[in-house]
Homo-oligomer: 202 residues x 2
């Protein structure tokens, strides 16, 4: 049986970029493939009452500094030298995420993810802006304007909402979350456990 | 040079018990020893504005359920079959922690830690109660009453406060925290990183 990592995915978190990159090694070692499940992080937060760590822990001395240190360690360990913290962070990703549903229907999901993540987390582009996003997509061989237009389709909007609420029903409260079968793992520090689970279920 | 894991330690967290147990394997594989640094979790929380996850995330759907799942996984992975969640949790540990400073001065620190952790996280004893604690210590070969009395010594109280504020100055915001040299690691999910750091600094 082919092994799959389901990745509850939104572009909004730098941790989504980092784990997207680091999972390549996991897939190589385990033979697994990644199934990206587009879910809106803002919607997950709204449905669960959760919020981004940089907000939750803003008043906790030392906590966000430590989280930054762990991000630096992760980048170094996985040699993710192209990563740049985007000065426009946090960006609203609802349009980009609807675009991912469009790309999914075009069977170009991974290519779309790669384009958006590169623009957002390597090239510091303000991808929350629809014009910037359309240009970045067009430069990568998509019809950027057509995708942005398609994001207004009610069926596309509904699909993203449905994915998001279904994920929350399964226990998801943040990004990145991974499922291997029914086993859920949250956070970039747990991709080692994802790999162990893939090995154990081989 | 002998390798040391500094463990910013309080009995109050089940995660302190779990990592105390799991570090035995790390020490065996790396030749490292553990230096327990008694710091009051309640004091760390007060100084940093942090709070226990079961409080911070009480209103976040799914988050504490997931944390419990990760505790179960950790217990299973490290075969910690004797662990029991104490029905008296959360317990005030200030007297027990002062007792740890007393035990440190008696050169019986590890024996004291083992006794208190066993009573608290295997035998479900209400160790926040001084009488219960005195009895448990006496049963383990300490003079329980004498230790409890010594916890009222101002120098002992001051030592615990000094340890705690010095830890916060170094970036500590919770328990369990580990230092390998100047490198800080927080949380039971990071003992793998502690081991890697010990290997790298060998």
């Amino acid at each position: 049986m082919a092994k799959t990592i389901e990745f509850i995915f939104d572009f909004a978190s730098p941790n989504a970029y980092m784990t997207y990159k680091a999972l390549a090694g996991v897939c190589e070692r385990t033979g697994a493939t990644v199934n990206y499940n587009p879910c809106l992080l803002g919607g997950i937060f709204k449905l669960t009452g959760n919020q981004a760590p940089f907000i939750s822990f803003a008043e906790v001395r030392g906590k966000n500094e430590y989280n930054r240190l762990e991000s630096e360690r992760f980048l170094k360990k996985h040699q993710l030298n192209a990563f740049k913290m985007n000065p426009n962070f946090p960006m609203n990703t609802v349009s980009l995420m609807r675009g991912l549903i469009v790309a999914e229907e075009m069977d170009r999901k991974v290519e779309y993810i790669d384009t958006v993540l590169t623009a957002m987390w390597e090239n510091e582009e303000n991808m929350g802006d629809a014009d910037v996003a359309a240009r970045a997509l067009t430069a990568a061989g998509f019809d950027g304007a057509a995708i942005v237009e398609k994001t207004q389709d009610p069926a596309i909007k509904q699909k993203l909402m449905d994915n998001t609420s279904a994920a929350v029903e399964r226990g998801v409260f943040g990004i990145p979350t991974f499922f291997v079968g029914d086993e859920m793992f949250f956070g970039k520090e747990r991709i080692g456990q994802v790999e162990e689970e893939l090995m154990a279920s081989a």
